[in-house]
């Protein structure tokens, strides 16, 4: 499912793209799995967090990928702090 919302990537250094729920879901799922969360629990957390991020996005015509990441971390932290930490650190590790 794609919402008609433009995601501005890396402050415009890369082309904008439409928001993709699948992509967000997959990234949250990967973060949960990478901290050894059982698959079923990881799926339901990814589902719940994706819903929360989409309801935040619905009021905005365009957002940056950094904003999406920040809001995702905020919601993910309430479900799984370890996964939220890994999600947040993903681009800050190297």
């Amino acid at each position: 499912m794609s919402l008609a919302i433009d995601i501005i990537k890396r402050n415009g250094q890369r082309p904008s793209e439409n928001f993709s729920r699948e992509k967000l879901h997959a990234s949250i799922l990967a973060a949960c799995l990478s901290v050894r969360t059982p698959v079923g629990q990881a799926e339901s957390i990814a589902h719940a967090v994706s819903d929360s991020v989409i309801s935040w996005l619905e009021t905005k015509p365009e957002v940056t990928s950094h904003d999406v990441r920040r809001i995702t971390v905020k919601h993910l932290r309430t479900h799984h702090p370890d996964a939220a930490y890994i999600y947040e650190q993903h681009r800050l590790t190297i």
Binding site: L29, A30, A31, L33, S34, V35, R36, V39, D82, A83, Y85, I86, E88, Q89, H90, R91, L92, T93, I94
Partner: protein, 237 residues
């Protein structure tokens, strides 16, 4: 310099090398991607093992190459000025590590050129086979060359003074000790530890690791300067 002192210098240089964090960061990311992509524990272990093996091979190749070049240029008798330059390199890199090693931001981002960091990040994400993990290991050593060149150069200077058999022992000692930190992370990932705990520890202790690496380089530089430059000058007089 006797064999024990030579091996002690090589061991300390390798320990300093082990405290550098680029390969550890890449291994942590690689483990995270592999586990996050629902790969089996055996596959995760194969990927991380290949990565560590790649790092080890490149470390040995690099040390051997620098030793060969120095041996070709200076033979067994290294001029004092070259020792002094080697010590200067250790001091310079030591101070640079104190000042610049980690970026002043959240996480464990390093002061390496951003294109190299982005490349390693993208390659880590794309790595799904053992051969790719092995080459990622080779590349990550080159990525931190700016920092590891000092301990490698001083180890090479020490190595070329040894007999061939002890040179092999020295290279093996350097390779094993320089892989210690990577081996610890490899064991933790392999035994099922959470990556978040590993990364949290790394982030919480990053300034200690930075201080230890910088101090180690300066102490090593001071020791080698006293033994090889001042010692031979005073002995010569």
């Amino acid at each position: 310099m006797n064999i024990a002192s030579s091996l002690a210098i090589i061991a300390l240089a390798a320990l300093i090398h082990a405290s550098f964090q680029l390969s550890v960061s890449v291994l942590t990311l690689l483990g995270g991607h592999a586990i996050g992509a629902k790969k089996s524990q055996a596959k995760v272990l194969r990927l991380t093992t290949s990565f560590v093996f790649g790092v080890g091979v490149m470390t040995v190749l690099l040390l051997s190459f620098v030793s060969l070049v120095l041996l070709d240029v200076f033979g067994g008798q290294t001029p004092q000025v070259v020792w002094a330059i080697g010590c200067g390199l250790l001091f310079g890199v030591g101070v640079a590590v104190w000042l610049f090693y980690y970026r002043r931001a959240k996480g464990t981002s390093l002061w390496i050129p951003r294109p190299i960091a982005s490349y390693l990040h993208e390659r880590t994400k794309a790595t799904g086979r053992s051969a790719e993990a092995f080459s990622l290991g080779l590349t990550s050593v080159l990525g931190e060359l700016i920092f590891i060149i000092a301990p490698i150069a001083i180890s090479a200077l020490v190595l070329i003074q040894l007999s061939p058999v002890w040179q092999l022992v020295g290279i093996a000692t350097y390779a094993v000790i320089s892989l210690l930190s990577l081996t610890i992370i490899w064991v933790l990932i392999g035994s099922g530890h959470k990556l978040s705990h590993i990364q949290e520890w790394r982030e919480a202790n990053k300034y200690f690791l930075q201080f230890a690496a910088g101090s180690g380089l300066i102490i090593l530089g001071f020791y080698v300067y006293v033994v090889e430059v001042l010692g031979s000058t005073v002995g010569g007089v």
